[in-house]
């Protein structure tokens, strides 16, 4: 009987439909990235020529510079955002109730609630008004800001599941605050911290709209460079880059999945 109430006819097919919709475009682009033909319509046999083109072709220097910007910005933004979010999570869940706690919570989540395009407009106006020239620095600042909630949520979720007794025991045994944090609490929080870091990293790597507004002239990240190329039509080399980025995302999500699974087994 218990299987009976859980089963709804057709729901399994809807799940299949959902997965087909989600994956069909990605699979098609991956397959066509190995197309040997110069035309994106006809199949010219299996070939790696477009991957070679990405690294050595006429657009290679542009993509390389953009990829470097994207990677360094994502690394720095995710690191800073994770540090800020970890401190905030400890304060929110370990320092007791305080006035302004719910306001602080709303503030942390604000980047998730304001539409991206509005964040983009507001940030551009701010930088223009303050007189900061748009470029690498402005992209970095914007990315740190919107990465904070993405880093915060997994870290806070993990921290809530850790018994306060661990730090208390450490403190009772004369560990300083720093020792209690770095030797006891941080190792326990680590799966959450890593998840938060990976999520922030991928969110930074992904961002197009906000970056496009605050990047200034001549500055490109991978998404803005790809967008610029796509505007002139989808070329095969774009499909090769897309497949490479797909692979990076798949590696990251797998890492995050494994970290979470290990995390769930430990206390």
């Amino acid at each position: 009987m218990s299987r009976g109430v859980r089963h709804y006819p057709g729901f399994g097919w809807m799940t299949v439909l959902c997965l087909v919709i989600l994956y069909a475009p990605l699979i098609v682009v991956t397959v066509y990235s190995f197309n040997g033909s110069t035309s994106i319509t006809t199949w010219g046999g299996f070939s790696l020529r477009w991957y070679v083109d990405v690294f050595t072709g006429p657009e290679a220097p542009r993509f390389k510079a953009a990829a470097w910007n994207s990677l360094t910005i994502a690394l720095i933004a995710a690191t800073v955002a994770t540090a800020i979010a970890t401190a905030a999570a400890v304060a929110m869940h370990r320092a007791g109730g305080f006035r302004g706690r719910s306001l602080t919570f709303a503030l942390i989540n604000l980047p998730l609630m304001v539409p991206e395009i509005v964040v983009a407009v507001a940030t551009l106006i701010f930088f223009t008004m303050v007189g900061i020239t748009t470029g690498y620095m402005t992209i970095l600042i914007a990315h740190i800001t919107f990465c904070i909630p993405f880093a915060y949520l997994p870290i806070a979720a993990r921290l809530q599941g850790i018994d306060e007794g661990y730090e208390q025991a450490a403190r009772d045994l004369y560990a300083g605050r720093g020792q209690a944090f770095f030797l006891v609490l941080l190792p326990l929080m680590l799966p959450g911290v890593i998840s938060g870091y990976l999520l922030a990293f991928i969110i930074s790597l992904d961002d197009f709209i906000i970056t496009n507004f605050v990047k200034g002239a001549g500055m490109e990240t991978l998404p803005t460079a790809i967008f610029g190329s796509v505007k002139q039509g989808i070329k095969p080399n774009i499909m090769a880059i897309s497949t490479l980025m797909l692979a990076v995302s798949a590696v990251f999500v797998t890492l995050s999945y494994l970290v979470n699974r290990v995390g769930r087994k430990s206390p």
Binding site: E116, A122, Q160, R177, L185
Partner: protein, 310 residues
């Protein structure tokens, strides 16, 4: 578990004295780089536009006037309602609403199906749903465009199967934009509903079945009311980003499928831009989103109230 109750005591780690220093980076970063900019944007929407994308510090309602009021080409006709921008907002609202509905129709059965698998299998199903969420949205949108274009694999495949005689043009239509929004935000619908269904007590369904309620009556009368917070959360997570979406309408649509995101973006690009108008349109978009979030907050507190009553 340290819920709100236990964390109220101050904790044993001795973090209390560090409360302000620990939170200061968050307050400063989000305060200076998000709250302040949004406030400045509000101010900007009341300034006078200058050519080449700047502003003059003269306070005026011109941007909002341009949005809502039509005074003719030379500004000397009696004011009437300006429909151009309202129509763009209206199109965005119904496109976002429709995308939310379609995501719900596919997302709910998917979430239910995954949550009713044996616990050991759920992780893999969720993993499959999460991968596309982690893939760059620009790349996903470009991939979709590649798939559905006039001589793309979808049309070619359907023609080879004899379903179609001639390719169907999807790109540059409202349908393509709709498909793009649906495709972009579908995982956002599945995940919160899954979380709600996973906590659902199936004994409720069994009780209903014992009392001779059919499956679908049980779904409508018992399941949906109980998992409603998850459904509402999913709808918000799809509706809000769809409303301000830029990539799907820009890459898959054309001039006739213009949405708010493109309208705002246009105001900040090149010399034809109008920053105060773009700021005003952003303010109006933010107001709409706040309304949607208030609906969410109300339904969440209602659900909490019902839970307390039970």
């Amino acid at each position: 578990m340290a819920g709100p109750g236990t964390s109220g005591g101050g904790g044993g780690g001795g973090w209390r004295p560090l409360l302000v220093p620990l939170l200061m980076p968050t307050w400063l970063t989000i305060g200076i780089f998000l709250v302040l900019p949004v406030a400045l944007m509000a101010v900007y929407s009341f300034l006078t536009k200058e050519f080449r994308g700047g502003v003059i510090w003269d306070f005026t309602l011109a941007a909002y006037d341009q949005f809502f009021v039509d005074r003719g080409l030379f500004g000397d006709e009696p004011p009437a309602i300006e429909w151009t921008y309202i129509a763009i907002f209206w199109r965005s609202i119904w496109q976002a609403g429709l995308a939310t509905l379609f995501c719900l129709l596919v997302g709910f059965p998917t979430a239910w199906f995954i949550a009713t698998r044996p616990a050991s299998q759920r992780g893999v199903w969720l993993f499959l749903i999460t991968i596309p969420y982690w893939v760059n949205l620009l790349i996903r949108t470009v991939s979709l465009k590649f798939l559905i274009r006039d001589n793309g694999p979808l049309n070619e495949g359907l023609m080879a199967l004899g379903v179609l005689d001639a390719p169907v043009t999807l790109v540059n239509t409202n349908l393509a934009v709709q498909l793009g929004l649906f495709y972009s935000y579908l995982p956002f619908m599945v995940l919160p509903i899954y979380a709600a269904v996973e906590r659902y007590n199936f004994a409720l369904s069994e009780a209903a079945a014992d009392l001779y309620a059919s499956r679908w009556v049980t779904l409508r009368e018992i399941v949906i009311p109980v998992v409603k917070p998850g459904i509402v959360a999913g709808c918000i997570l799809v509706f809000v980003p769809s409303l301000g979406a830029f990539l799907a309408p820009d890459l898959l649509g054309g001039a006739k499928t213009f949405m708010i995101g493109s309208l705002i973006e246009e105001q900040f690009k090149g010399s034809l831009g109008n920053w105060p108008f773009g700021a005003a349109a952003s303010m109006i978009l933010m107001t709409l989103v706040l309304c949607a979030l208030m609906v969410y907050a109300r339904s969440a507190s209602q659900a909490a109230g019902q839970g307390a009553a039970r």
